[in-house]
């Protein structure tokens, strides 16, 4: 279930938007919160920012392709992340700030966990 609405939960920021590459404000609305439970279709572990792509069901049963901006591969690798920390087919839960441009399904500054809510450990 994907939902975008007024922020009702405190989001623990575990993934900086781009580790200082750009401000998140022009891209993402920090007054709102978005949530997606889906399956990973692609994980790009790159600089200047990484991206996680997942398909998640929308409110009307449609499939929404979410694009989650994460930190730089450099800074994430210092915390133990690798290109294999998240794999295609993994079920994940993402809560973050939704993108501003109408019709887009981007998210940043997100807390990413496994589908059951348990944390994703870079060591896994």
């Amino acid at each position: 279930m994907a939902a975008v609405g007024a922020m009702a939960v405190v989001v623990a920021v575990t993934n900086l938007p781009a580790a200082a590459h750009h401000a998140s404000g022009p891209f993402y609305d920090n007054t709102k919160s978005a949530e997606a439970d889906g399956v990973v279709t692609r994980f790009l572990f790159r600089n200047p920012h990484s991206f996680l792509f997942l398909d998640a069901p929308g409110e009307n049963g449609e499939t929404i392709a979410w694009e989650i901006e994460m930190g730089t591969a450099l800074s994430m690798s210092r915390r133990g992340w690798t290109p294999d920390t998240i794999k295609v087919g993994d079920a994940v839960k993402v809560v973050g700030q939704p993108s501003r441009a109408p019709g887009t399904y981007g998210m940043c500054c997100a807390e990413i966990s496994q589908a059951d809510g348990s944390p994703i450990s870079p060591a896994n």
């Binding site: 580790a19 022009p26 891209f27 920012h49 990484s50 690798s77 501003r100 441009a101």
Partner: protein, 250 residues
Amino acid sequence: MRMLETTTQTAPKHLAAWIFGALFLGLAAVVPLQAQEDTEAIPELSGLWDGSPRSRPINGPNMPWTSENFPVLNERGLAFREVFDEAISPKYDCVPSTPPALVYDPYMMEVVQWPDRVLLRYEKDDQLRTVWLDGREPTPQDYSLQGVSVGHYKDGALHVTTTHFTFDVTGFDDYNGIPSSQLKKITERYWREGEELKVTLTVEDELFLREPVSFTTQWKPGLEGYQLQAYECDAEIARYPVKFLVPKYR
């Protein structure tokens, strides 16, 4: 080695040889003295330095340019900032950042000190700045993205002056839409304070700023065994989030 050989020569048989020998002896007496003085004045700045949040607050719209040191723009700077659209920022095409942004970016930096130059290697954007210590001056052909840096050691610090930057539409920082011009001048003073490397950086740019602005920051020593990683900016992914912006112009 060459000076040692000169000082061990026997007495000259001819006047010309005597003068030649005397000149070399004079050089032998002067050069080591100058080298010794230079050595005493050179601070130990070499090493890998950590500019991540472990050392200082991460950069952002209000860091390192706070309400106390935020630049006062002239009319030209204000007008440029008014029309600036984030989407045109060159960083979304992997164009590297320049000082002052490059210096404050939250990454590792390596300093290498050679007799005639200091190398500043930045993990961010795979950038290298060379600070020339040999007295050279930039020519009109030397304009470049990172400009030309010259420096000297004084009072236990490395003093660097960088000019000859090319125009950069986001040359002031990564956040505030302030450009920098060919008149940008960056002055840096690097010194050690305990285990930390510190810098005071000043920006001048008469084309956009009413007065110089400065910040002081620091690096902690990099974690032992860490080596600079390749940044290898990916042009496709660099531009990817731009589609999430609400465009300023249509």
